[in-house]
Amino acid sequence: MTGCAGDQLVMLNCEDQLLDVVAALDIRDFLMASSGNDEECPLDVALVEGAVLTRRDEEKLNRVRERAKLLVAVGTCAVWGGVAAMDGGRDGDRARLLAETYGPTGAAYDSTPARALHEVVKVDFNISGCPIEKEQFISALSHLLNGNAPLFPQYPVCTECKMRENNCLLIEKGEVCCGPLTVAGCNARCPALNIACVGCRGPADDANTTSALAMFGEKGIPRDDIVRKLRTFAPMEGPGV
């Protein structure tokens, strides 16, 4: 679908395991990695990256869904809509947006409000992340090959951050760190490097956005700033968000 192809790059960057991946899978259709692709054959698993931003995306996704027994959304765009959906899909007036951006020719573009895959078709499994984590990708494949669902942590980044014994940017420095709301799996990569979590993996299972907004508010951070930040990668649930 529409995206930066960063997740496909992660797949291709699994250098140590690439040969195992190729040996374990019969890859039929992978445009970025292969010149000869079969765009019609039935598939056991379809890994789909990107968000649905055009009618062409939608048609293509529907075709993939028909071909595949299992459809896996790969990357935050596919799972949550990603940066393209940061307006929450609420800019109903697409025509005005296109005109403002591209001028009179804008009307000719095939452009729809960004949607995550699950808003268009049934998605069986999600591998979130911007980009996805190599380890999670390999782990998901391994489990799927055994007929088992991929197994990922549902808890927030804070948990992994504490496991690594990082300093807390939220509490110690008062930064807008999205760790408490963002699903783990990255091993708190950014906070370990002293960078506040931007929430690129999308919300945790049980994110308490209401309380988090109040917490940031108490730190004197304007509500709009927080909401914008929380919406960068995914529509965070919660009243008024």
Binding site: L141, S142, Y155, C158, K162, E165, C168, L170, D205, D206
Partner: protein, 344 residues
């Protein structure tokens, strides 16, 4: 008990001697906080630390560890490599020693955890006396002093560390230093008692734990839990930093293209929605308030029922680590309907 004293200015020499008993780990500063880390230079060790981000539990129940390996027809094989590595934890506070003593209760019993036990066997503990700060309430939890669980315990008495020798291994450490340790005098003992009394007076937080389990039963339906549940972010921080939280998750990984792979355990938290979720979708603690309540309840009621004392050491880590300022002392005193008061 053997009681000696160690000249303070010889501490670094003593630390160099204990290296022969294992890799020395001690609190060092990390951007204004502290963490137990392998000591590279003794000068970076901060024995005046308040609390480390993670308690020493990380050495015995690591955040992630492989328990078994599934190897096809050979079945499951225990993965025990590295468990025999000798370490010396230098500068452990009484509350953390107490915390390990509590974990010992959990990982012993009819089913001894061989991973935890092996690591415990191979670690020496050198305790050090500390001064309570605004989050410490170890005295309320009877964890401000420990009678056991250390090989040596050092108390600052001015120019010397008043030293309790807890085990034969501790005694070996003392002997390995040659004539470094000196006998204590009557004045030293008096100085120890003076400082001990002063420390007692220094606590600013107090929780009465007598009949607290029963008060938990009485306040099981209290409104307190709803409010706390609405605030809690379910971020798991309090559980990760807790010296007595031991819940863990177990999951199998598989090597790509096979059914073989490791079975690993990872720290877990009862604040997560999945904690009491059974296959089929039934969740015995569906709501956040019920999970927050459970965490407190288990520490102050469940642990007492099982092991005869609260599963809390009063280290204050959860207070420091909570992004929404849920404060265990406040909660417990609120349950008791008393103000936070200084102890006497």
């Amino acid at each position: 008990m053997k009681i000696l004293k160690l000249p303070k200015n010889k501490l670094d020499f003593f630390a160099s001697v204990v290296q022969q008993f294992g890799e020395v780990h001690a609190p060092v500063e990390q951007n204004g906080q502290f963490a137990f880390q392998p000591v590279r230079r003794w000068s970076e060790v901060r024995l005046d630390y308040n609390r480390t981000i993670l308690p020493p539990k990380k050495y015995f129940l690591p955040p992630r560890e492989t328990l078994l390996q599934y190897a096809g027809d050979a079945g499951y094989v225990p993965v025990m490599e590295g468990l025999d590595k000798k370490i010396v934890l230098f500068g452990v506070h009484a509350c953390d020693v107490y915390g390990l003593n509590l974990l010992d209760l959990v990982f012993a019993g009819a089913y001894r955890d061989p991973y935890y036990q092996a690591r415990r066997r191979n670690a020496a503990i050198i305790g050090i006396e500390c001064t309570p700060d605004e989050h410490c309430f170890c005295r309320s939890m009877r964890a401000d002093f420990v009678e056991q669980g250390f090989d040596l315990f050092l108390f600052d008495i001015g120019d010397y560390y008043f030293t309790l020798v807890g085990t034969a291994l501790g005694d070996d450490m003392v002997l390995a230093t040659g004539p470094l340790f000196e006998p204590v005098s009557h004045q030293d003992v008096e100085e120890y008692k003076r400082r001990s009394a002063r420390k007692r007076e220094a606590f600013r937080l107090h929780v009465e734990i007598r009949d607290l389990p029963e008060i938990f039963e009485m306040e099981y339906s209290s409104d307190i839990w709803q409010g706390l549940g609405e605030r809690c972010l379910s971020c798991g921080s309090c559980s990760m930093v807790c010296p007595t939280c031991y819940c863990y998750e177990v999951a199998d990984e598989v090597q790509l293209g096979s059914r073989e792979g490791p079975r690993a355990r990872t720290w877990d938290s009862c604040l997560f929605a999945t904690h009491a979720l059974v296959a089929g979708g039934e969740n015995f603690r569906k709501t956040r308030p019920s999970r927050v309540k459970f965490r407190f309840y288990h520490k102050q009621r469940g642990f007492v029922a099982e092991y005869g004392r609260p599963g809390c050491v009063g280290c204050g880590r959860c207070i420091v680590a909570c992004p929404v300022k849920i404060d265990v002392v406040e909660v417990l005193n609120q349950l008791r309907s008393v103000q936070n008061v200084a102890s006497r």
